[in-house]
């Protein structure tokens, strides 16, 4: 029995699993920051290299802007995580997630000649975890599943009622 005519059940399960896993990661990153009163994006932003470094360092250097960025980042991660996990406004969550990760990547890209003091848990050349997660979200954008498995399905039904 197929749930969706566009995908086999296995394909659908794989896409939903990918969506939930990425959502889990976003949600936990957000909650960890929310629960840590000492967390700030400042150290990450101050490590910024490459052509956008000036912008990111400027954010870190302005306390009022930084506090707004901290709140936006934390709650952004939480809402995107919930959206992906529950399939709620999943298209918006997917695009927003890609945008957020693009900012992380642009701030600290693993390019030749850029050296970072913050240790990473792996070794990267151009491609890092952020870029892969962004690509995963792009796949989810092209093959959305929230309207099949997720709260979006219920919203869709309610709207068409």
């Amino acid at each position: 029995m197929r749930i969706d005519k566009k995908h086999s059940n296995w394909q659908l399960a794989a896409l939903v699993t990918l969506r939930v896993l990425v959502g889990w990661h976003f949600l936990y990153e957000g909650i960890t920051k929310l629960m840590n009163p000492f967390w700030s994006a400042a150290s990450f932003l101050l490590e910024s290299k490459w052509i956008f470094a000036g912008i990111f360092k400027g954010i870190a250097g302005n306390p009022s802007v930084l506090s707004v960025v901290n709140v936006l980042n934390t709650w952004g991660l939480i809402f995107i995580g919930l959206g992906l996990m529950l399939g709620c406004l999943s298209r918006i969550a997917t695009v927003a997630g890609m945008g957020l990760i693009l900012l992380y990547y642009a701030s600290n890209p693993p390019f030749t000649g850029l050296y970072y003091a913050i240790p990473s848990e792996g070794n990267y050349l151009i491609v890092n975890k952020n870029l892969i997660e962004m690509a995963a979200l792009f796949v989810l954008l092209l093959f959305p599943t929230g309207h099949i498995i997720g709260l979006d399905h219920l919203f869709h039904k309610l709207r068409s009622k």
């Binding site: 197929r2 749930i3 969706d4 939903v16 939930v20 529950l86 099949i148 498995i149 997720g150 009622k161």
Partner: protein, 468 residues
Amino acid sequence: MDEKMDDSRTTPKKGIERRDFIQGLATLPILGLFTLSWLNKTIHDRPKNLGKSQRAIPEDLSDINVAFLGTGEQGYIILNACLKIPGLRFKAVCDIWESYNQKRAAQVLKKYKHEMNTYLDYREMLSKEKDLDAVIIATPDFWHADHTVACLEANLHVYCEKEMSNTLEGARRMVEAARRTGKLLQIGHQRRSNPRYLHCYNNLIKNAGILGRITAVNGQWNRAVQPDIGWPKKHVIDSATLKKYGYESMNQFRNWRWYRGLGGGPIVDLGSHQIDIFNWFLETQPKSVLASGGTDYYSKDTHEWYDTVLAIYEYETKQGVVRANYQTLTTNSSEGYFENFLGDQGTLHISESANRGGVYREPTAPQWDKWVSLGYLSAPEKVTQQITTRAVLDVRETIGPDRHDIPITFNDPYHLPHLENFFNAVRGLDKLNCPHDIGYETAVTVLKVNDAVEEARRLDFDPKEFRI
């Protein structure tokens, strides 16, 4: 797969069916799983604050009348720590440097509403102050025995800075006086009350045996070159007063630690604190000591004691032989001060400096997850090493150990817990962490280093030496 069934699930139908709820809420249990996992991790990672429980503020805060004897550099540090202890009423301050040390201490105490008398001579203070309960002694080492014995015999409890005395004869008199009078005598080895050290001894070493068999210990206190301590020229003590209290000059008064007969040199000033930890953590006293030292850098006219000392002790513990080396340099500050306890399952790196410390698991030791979940240790972090050459890859080397933090925060003045322990003991609420017997054992252990340097040979300890 029939198209009919397929269409029924993708073509919008009027009304919400049960199937739609299943599809819509299918991932909700994952959120539940996430919440459970997160709560579980939060509970596991919560700091256990084992150290804080050892420093409860007593309910009985009846006032203790205190005198302060010796308010120089060290005394002033202790005085400031005392200001954080509730229930103390300072009644007297005594120091022979009337225009400076004595005045400075009195000004601070008056600021905190203590109404006290000031004295130049301790005998006068003891004869006039009749409602004292306790005294804090922070005079130069060579005065400790006379001051302590006199105060104990005046029926006062005594907190005496380390070194207990610069001579064993003096330390012995102090022990005998404490026993004779039945008053409390705490020696100022303040690490004995430090919550981080207490955690390491009670929980990591004693309860968990986390280091396995300790086979070696090393410690050091290295300090940068320092000029002689000076003094404001308008505050010179007259030579008659200096002579009366055992000093030949103002320079000797200010730099007494370097002079034989007055202090014991850096091995006693600095090493005593840490060698005391060797004895404490190993739960015994050494069998022998050999040492090398000398006044290699400074002038022997002003630095009678050795500016550089290296000592090696041999201990016979319940688990086997432990060799412990200690060094104190006054010409280079490399790595500062710390103690390392090295066992076959781990290494404890600890320092009174609250920013330092860590526990390292040997790669071949069992996992320490149990101790992390109990709050004995923080979660491990890998000690990474940037390898820049193939030459370091060698079968003789073992991989780097995991590093764990000691999860006890300590933000108070270093002497505060030890002073609190003393005053709690005066109130009958606690036992002294460093009573006279322990202070004496440490004095015997440390003072022998200078003898070993002098004789340029290994000296054995008779177990009876540590007892009176």
